[in-house]
Homo-oligomer: 316 residues x 2
């Protein structure tokens, strides 16, 4: 059984896989381009989910299973996969802990003005005159109240924040004080001190936040996007920054990633860019490969009850 | 009734006080030096707790009550106050929320490597190769398991950290998985990823952490001191940094504050200086003055059941 990785895991993971599945033949490549000559023989392909094309699927004549070590599937050639009837599994479920910690971390460093504190420290300046605040009793609005949004909400409630959410039905969920839908979220915007989006990219969520949404927010409001970049058009974000309509924007996701050199976001006052970091920690790859290993056992044995099977028709 | 402030609150607080107590005669000074000519007539003195001397107490012949708008009383001339039988109240209890948020904020920005992220952002560098980690399942040791330490522990448990504490008896407390005393804390040092001290300055806590304590910690351990600077001698901290015995030290409190210009802590690799910020937020003064106002009502009426009365003999 030939298993092709289109990325190179660290040595400890490579040897763990080889030891755990001595009967499998693992091939690791740094990128899909280097793996192309082997795809025709691959029974299993392991990908981060952003590199496979229709052409790759066509070439992979023997492929029966594709493991995607991320959660977003919008760049996967699902039509071609569906035509071939290839099993797809992903790594959903491993993002909520790191993404919730990243969200709370961004809010706290904003409230405590840590960017200014570190600047002061570099200049050896002792000054306590910073507009520091608290998460305590501040209002948080989470766009996307699924597993990740729910974990952010759980932690936010521990800080005694007022937590509202947006989901598709507006129905209650654990850890949320109030719930809205995309159609009714407008009424909550003037209340929110922090707005965090973890929404995926779907036809329903594309470019839904307009300049007037931001104009309804507090002028001190903080907008954090760790979902997908196409939630707001870039021109909207730049106009909001230009108008200083809200306090600050932390953007972790973009239409084009990596964000190109010279992109105005890099230098725009009121916008802080982070390099799609929210789910990245040392624990990401071990958790993703743990799912892969469980599914590989299943694949090698009864082929029943895989974890995180994707319906290629629905796309999730 | 003459009430002397040895600091100048913002205008909103001044007018609130004057409106709430129209019968009182408030005098606000930027520092105690400017207030000295009025001390002889003061019935009540409101101080941040770091400026009064024995001489001031002697001059304040009519003084019946001193309100300290902080919690630390080690700089108060308590012997002179005791001799005169002056009532002392402080603002204890208002520190736990901001200090716990500050602690979690420092740990999260360390785990997420946010100082490096901001440096990258200034250079418009998109790089995800940062040694980011999680608080999830990391071990935290809190020196000082009182109200503030307990609030840090409560939040840390929400992040699913393993939380140990040090208190005077070693007996269990809410939100702590294990408890130690200053005598037994050594056994927990090799386990801790984060060590936070909120210990006050007492004869029992002075200079108790030595170089060999730090050498027993993990080489990635993070030490955060938001208690009092004299917990560790400066020479010890510098030697620990020089030896790179642990991962990083965040110091918010010092023997001498402000930390003098040119002090080696400012530039030492492995040490980050913050200007005694942990309890400072926009909500500090309103909360402190809320206690003052309640006690001023009590003082003006039945003089029974003051909040936060200090025993000048014991010093707390």
């Amino acid at each position: 059984m030939k298993i092709i990785f289109t990325f190179q895991p660290r040595e400890e993971f490579v040897s763990d896989l080889k030891n755990s599945f001595p009967e499998a033949e693992f091939h690791f490549y740094k990128k899909v381009k280097e793996a192309e000559h082997e795809l025709a023989n691959a029974e299993v392909i392991v990908t981060m989910g952003e590199d496979l094309t229709d052409d790759h699927i066509e070439r992979s004549e023997k492929c029966k299973w594709i493991m995607v070590t991320s959660a977003g599937l919008e760049k996967m050639p699902l039509d071609a996969i569906k035509r071939r009837g290839i099993l797809v599994t992903n790594a959903r479920g491993i993002h909520k802990i790191p993404m919730a910690e990243f969200s709370i971390g961004l809010m706290l460093q904003h409230a405590k003005q840590l960017q200014s504190v570190w600047e002061q420290e570099k200049q050896a300046v002792w000054s306590r005159r910073l507009p520091t605040s608290e998460l305590y009793e501040a209002s948080l609005l989470i766009l996307g109240a699924g597993a990740i949004g729910g974990e952010i909400a759980r932690l936010a409630k521990a800080f005694r924040m007022n937590v509202s959410g947006v989901n598709s039905t507006g129905s209650d969920a654990d850890h949320f004080d109030k719930m809205f839908t995309l159609d009714t979220l407008r009424e909550q915007l003037p209340e929110a001190d922090y707005i965090i989006s973890v929404l995926p990219s779907t036809a329903r969520t594309k470019a839904i936040l307009k300049v007037d949404h931001f104009e309804e927010m507090k002028d001190t409001a903080v907008f954090i996007n760790i979902g997908r970049g196409d939630l707001v058009e870039e021109s909207v974000l730049l106009e909001v920054a230009e108008k200083k309509a809200i306090g600050h924007m932390y953007l972790d996701v973009f239409d084009q990633e990596p964000l190109p050199e010279g992109h105005p976001f890099w230098t725009k006052e009121g916008i802080t860019v982070t390099p799609h970091l929210s789910s990245i920690t040392k624990k990401y790859m071990p958790r993703a490969l743990e799912i892969f290993k469980k599914n590989l056992s299943t694949y090698s044995n009864n082929r029943e009850n895989y974890i995180n099977v994707i319906d290629a028709e629905r796309g999730y």
